[in-house]
Amino acid sequence: MLELLSFEFMQRAFAAGLLVAVICPVIGTFIVVRRLSMIGDTLSHASLAGIAAGMLGGFYPLLGALVFSIAAAIGIERLRKKFSQYAELSISIVLSAGIGLAVVLISLADSFNADLMSYLFGSIIAVSMLDIYIILTLSVIILVSVRLFYKEFFYISFDEEGAELAGIPVSALNMYFTVLTAMAIVVSMRVVGMLLVSSLMVVPVACSMLISKSFKNTIVISVAVAVLSVLIGLFTSYYLDLAPGGSIVLTSVLMLLVVSVAKRVFRMQ
């Protein structure tokens, strides 16, 4: 049963997958409660443009993705202030710009389209040691930052005006959090692919919110759901020869359904 763990590529796949399973829901919880669930999609589309730019310019694609998604994150924050009553508008504008730029860059060179597919749909079994180092570094930065500024991020998410009155540097921390989100997305692209990256930020959190008893509890349960999804998804994809990214996300959706039904049944009793 566990023979797959004897392969080095599978060890790397599990390492990358588990790191992503921890950071995505941690960031995702704050995103979901602020009703900004679409931000993940937007930043991942912007990072696709970065990957295309990296391939075109001959530099490490994930670096391109990181730079582009951080730029997009800054753009969202700036626009959010301009359209303060329509927070989601800033997300749509940057999403359009990201897709537009990605399509133009991709059309400039057809030769790397096969490589590009691995970023669109994820290629966890092709994760290299360099990928692992980058994923690990960014994950540590994200987790340490959230640990340090946990109470500030919580306050801003619950009541931005109140946080500002309490003296919290809200604008700076909002910007920082969006940059952390961009990092989390780049980290996750290798694992589940650009098209599914935001689902790993949202679905485990949605599942957790059905049963959680506090904010901290929401984070813990959502991490547990994501870790289980990665483990089950990877095993399934290996033995049934399915796409790993899709299997992971579908597992988390299935868990959401099970929890939702279980909750209803439990209530009826």
Binding site: K151, Y155, A163
Partner: protein, 250 residues
Amino acid sequence: MGADIVKIENIVFGYGKTNVLDGVSTSIGDGDFMGIVGPNGSGKSTLLKIFLGLLKPQKGSVRVFDTDISKFNQWGKIGYIPQKATSFNQGFPATVEEVVSANLYPKVGLAGTIGRNHREKVDNALRTVGMLEYKKRLIGRLSGGQQQRVFIAKSLVSDPRLIFMDEPTVGIDQKSEESFYELMDFLNKEKGITLVIVTHDIGAIDRRVNRVLCLSEGRLHEHDCTLDQGTDKLKEDYEKHNRALITHRH
């Protein structure tokens, strides 16, 4: 009452060409229990946001605890319970304890950790408002009146000397309103906290407060204390403001 802790002078503020506040001056003394009344749209919430530095007036000065508001940084001394306090996302998955603890920020600072003494502070604040037993409950599962108390506790954890409240009793039932004002009396008289309540409902505050300020036509008028003039006289004055000020002039 005591020495002035907030002083505003000749405040002018407008949205577009219309001045909502047109040369407003007043001060809040230490220990005051003040009501600011006025019809809807008279600029009460605007005035409150100017007191809090959330809006910057086009003209005039705001001094808080003897400091110009632009240089003031001891925000823990001031509590604020906005009108929309209880209209937050009711599905937010946070407990009462987590919500109240959030306002420990002025005590612990950026990236600081919440210690045992801080947790005791949270318990004490919840005990003061009679909500300690609800500490582990999700905030969205409480009634409007209970949530109101939690937000007061949230203000109390930073040991404020002054609390501003914007329409605090809107949307809560009569019984909760009664106990809310009992709590206000306790905070003002026993804890010595200065309170400023902004409301359109003079009937709710006239017997409780020691100062009533009426905002109308962009100006602020202070009525003599209710104890001197009697409630009826005050209500009469207020009614006149409400009638578009056709007959009433200060």
